[in-house]
């Protein structure tokens, strides 16, 4: 059980590490150029890994719905916006506000598609998040 716990925590660390590293590259270039390098390096690493493990491209790929390819396009904008943000408002504010957007949109998304949502907990959670977001806007 300790391995998955470490893995989940480390995944969170890496999210911030990559935003920090991409942010540093964007300082000397631009957020879009930094996002390009992030994706091409990731693609190369994953291709090498996939070739090493063998047949990572499914045989029935032609039958997959077209929209599963949109994740990468959204990712480009997401990574560029992360670099733009972290160099302007710092790591803590970026992390908090991105998580806020992710949580609130996640609740709305699940409500819209009819997935089970426990209303009291979600509503209270959204309220706490909005209060926290307001705090990031307070001048010192």
């Amino acid at each position: 059980m300790i391995l998955p716990i470490v893995a989940a925590f480390a995944a969170g660390l890496l999210v911030i590490l990559s935003r920090q590293v991409n942010g540093r590259l964007s300082l000397s270039t631009t957020p879009m150029i930094s996002s390009f390098w992030n994706h091409i390096i990731g693609a190369v690493v994953l291709t090498v890994l996939g070739l090493a493990l063998g047949n990572f491209i499914p045989a029935d790929i032609a039958t997959f719905p077209w929209w599963i390819y949109l994740g990468g396009a959204i990712g480009v904008v997401f990574v560029a916006s992360g670099s733009w943000l972290i160099t302007r408002i710092g790591a803590v504010n970026s992390t908090l506000l991105v998580i806020s957007g992710q949580m609130v949109s996640g609740v709305i998304f699940d409500l819209v598609r009819g997935a089970p949502v426990t209303v009291w907990a979600s509503a209270l959670g959204v309220l706490l998040i909005i209060a926290g977001m307001a705090l990031t806007q307070r001048s010192r």
């Binding site: 391995l3 989940a8 925590f9 890496l14 491209i57 997959f64 972290i86 209270l124 977001m133 806007q137």
Partner: protein, 165 residues
């Protein structure tokens, strides 16, 4: 960089970051579906490959301005360090760690909650010490309050809100 810049968050930053979080929800959903069809490695590989192509197209459309902007940035901040090109390695490793954790007794909720903890810990450290070539940022009670409120709200949603109780 040793200066402690008083970076203040204005409403434009708030909207941009919140919107970016909304995009993340969409991307995670789509990549999760891609993973259901073709596995976690395929999902991440296709996202990075499509992402590379889309980035090239977007850059080609606005290349003149991007090049000018990048040249000014290089004059101001110097050549980027070589390690700063390796952000993509983190992304590739993250996918492996996340799919390990999701398929354990932690499930999605536990993975999200622990991932959130990791994100908060490292961003506090990054601002406090000015890690990896980005400016240091003074943390105060206001930051502590925002961290506590947003982390508590998120944990409430992750652990009790999503999925029927």
């Amino acid at each position: 960089m040793t200066s402690s810049t008083p970076q203040r968050t204005n409403p434009l930053h708030l909207v941009a970051a919140f919107g970016s979080g909304c995009l993340l929800t969409l991307a995670i959903f789509i990549n999760g579906e891609a993973g259901r069809y073709g596995g976690a490695l395929f999902s991440s590989w296709i996202a990075h490959t499509v992402g590379t192509v889309v980035a090239v197209i977007l850059l080609a459309l606005i290349w003149r301005r991007q090049r000018a902007e990048a040249q000014t940035a290089t004059v101001t901040y110097g050549q980027p360090p070589l390690w700063s090109y390796l952000g993509g390695v983190c992304g590739a490793v993250t996918v492996m760690l996340t799919s390990t954790a999701v398929n354990s007794p932690l499930a999605l909720a536990g993975t999200l909650a622990l991932g959130l903890a990791g994100q908060v810990v490292l961003s506090l450290a990054a601002d406090f010490w000015g890690l990896l070539g980005l400016p240091r940022r003074r943390l105060d009670l206001r930051d502590a309050g925002a961290v506590i409120l947003i982390a508590a709200g998120s944990l409430l949603i992750i652990l009790f809100g999503l999925g029927a109780a």
